[in-house]
């Protein structure tokens, strides 16, 4: 199985390549990708140099154009598709059906992957993308169990890529409106979940308080590991209970299940984290590369070292082996 690794800057890209990635995914520095954060991502020239570096080492470059086009502004997404194709990227990762159609019609030779943002989570949806746009690989949402993935894999004619490590989005990706509800901006349309413009942190006594727009997302007591200020991992008061209604501040780690994923028909393992630093990318990619060939206790020992880098300093297998509350 291939190891697909994130890069938010050229420095992180080189670290991912050197650490053992089979492919690196990245985006342009604008709203055409779902990690549109300030100071992050690639200019056309940076992407050209990064692709050349990767190619020297036999590593592929995948470019995410995985936000949804704004009506009337399609030209930006079309231009970025043209840029990426001209630079010779190995695949485009796309969510918007309109953009998929444009790429399939304009650049029929360009390999196309369905982004997790396309929210293709059943056989019919994936078959449609394969038939209509020639999609060669689908990135599945983090809402399916491993048996679900195996059932889908038997009935589709394209490769499957799944997230195995990093930030855990527990929603129907591409359709989640929680960030929009709180801030007016979403990963789907603007490339930002819980945009930094709306995030505030303050100390209240010993507590760290995180706020998103007009909402208090969490209060972390002294000594408790912190998490991102996202509504899906906020602490809520529901009836008489007080706690995490959707998900705890926690990251995904299913590297201990890679044998089951291989048997289920998965072709590629994806690491989340384009917004993370190059130190994170280097450590995570090199550790996961080693864990792919390690067995049992050795693999677990390797993976346990990554927990301190994770949100809330905890990891979970998420829906892959979901036990509903």
């Amino acid at each position: 199985m291939e190891l697909i690794c994130p890069a938010g800057t050229p420095a992180a890209f080189r670290e991912a390549v050197d650490a053992g990635a089979d492919a690196v995914y990245c985006g342009f520095n604008d709203e055409t990708n779902a990690r549109n954060f300030p100071g992050l991502n690639f200019s056309r020239e940076e992407l050209r140099n990064s692709i050349a570096y990767a190619r020297q080492k036999g590593v592929q470059t995948l470019v995410a154009l995985n936000t949804f086009m704004r009506a009337g502004s399609e030209a930006l997404w079309y231009q970025r598709a043209a840029d990426a194709v001209a630079l010779g990227v190995d695949a485009l990762i796309v969510a918007d059906f309109g953009l998929m159609a444009h790429v399939a019609e304009t650049y029929p030779e360009q390999r196309l992957h369905a982004s997790v943002q396309a929210s293709a989570s059943n056989v019919e949806a994936i078959r449609f993308l394969v038939t209509a746009f020639g999609v060669k690989r689908v990135v599945l949402p983090r809402t399916l169990t491993i048996p679900d993935i195996a059932r889908i894999a038997r009935k589709i004619d394209c490769e499957i890529e799944v997230f195995v490590f990093g930030g855990l989005c527990v929603m129907a990706e591409g359709r989640c409106s929680l960030s929009s509800y709180a801030t007016g901006k979403s990963p789907n349309m603007n490339g930002v979940c819980s945009p930094a413009t709306h995030v505030r942190y303050r100390q209240d006594g010993g507590e760290l308080v995180s706020e998103l727009g007009d909402y208090t997302i969490n209060r972390f007591p002294p000594g408790e590991a912190a998490g991102y200020p996202t509504l899906c991992k906020g602490r809520f008061e529901v009836g008489d209970s007080h706690g995490y209604a959707f998900e705890d501040p926690v990251s995904l780690d299913i590297m201990d299940h890679i044998d089951a994923l291989r048997e289920a028909g998965v072709s590629a393992l994806k690491v989340e984290g384009r917004q993370r630093g190059k130190a994170y990318v280097a450590e995570v990619v090199s550790t996961l590369r080693r864990s792919l060939t390690a067995q049992g206790a050795e693999r677990q020992a390797l993976l346990s070292k990554l927990r301190h880098l994770s949100e809330g300093q905890k990891t979970t297998s998420g829906a892959y082996e979901k036990r509903w509350r």
Binding site: A12, G39, Y201, P222, A225, G227, E283
Partner: protein, 168 residues
């Protein structure tokens, strides 16, 4: 690693202009070696960034638009758009991109207040910059360059946890 009080306490008595002079020499050297350091800031170049080491009695303010660096006592008003507080070792690690800012935040080793978007832009700019402080310090030492670089790298190797300097 936290700077021991016996090392940081004397800084209470060192005149600010002297500390400022030394840090500005290093700051200028870093900028001359990395002229594109602030390119990724875009419009956030106009913001002022404060760095407050929790284990030192002084704070640093960087204004990328000029560009300039100021030093002040912790009790003075930094007049910054955003502020990051952490041990000096962690701040220097972030400057070099040797540790991940999100991981430090999860561990409660760092606190950030003010304009998050500006601070995020600076974090990403620094992370892409390939600054190596021992190398920069060595370049300031003339004929003693090799000696100074090796000594600084040795200190860094001792104060940073093993996993944070292993990757490069």
């Amino acid at each position: 690693m936290k700077i021991p009080p016996m090392v940081s306490a004397p800084l209470h008595f060192v005149p600010i202009p002297l500390i400022e002079r030394v840090t500005r020499i290093v700051f200028s050297k870093v900028l001359s070696e990395h002229p594109d350091l602030f390119a990724r800031l875009g419009t956030y170049r106009e913001k002022r960034f404060a760095f407050r080491p929790t284990d030192l009695p002084v704070a640093f303010v960087v204004d990328p638009s000029r560009p300039s660096l100021s030093v002040l006592r912790k009790s003075d008003d930094a007049k910054a758009d955003c502020t990051v507080e952490a041990k000096i070792v962690h701040l220097l690690s972030l400057l070099e991109g040797r540790c991940d800012a999100d991981a430090l935040f999860f561990a409660r080793e760092i606190t950030v207040t003010g304009d998050m978007e500006a601070m995020l832009a600076l974090r990403n700019a620094l992370d892409d910059s390939l600054i190596d402080l021992p190398t920069e310090l060595g370049k300031l030492a003339g004929p003693f360059a090799s000696l100074v670089s090796k000594a600084a790298a040795g200190v860094r190797g001792r104060v940073l946890p093993q996993e944070q300097h292993r990757w490069n």
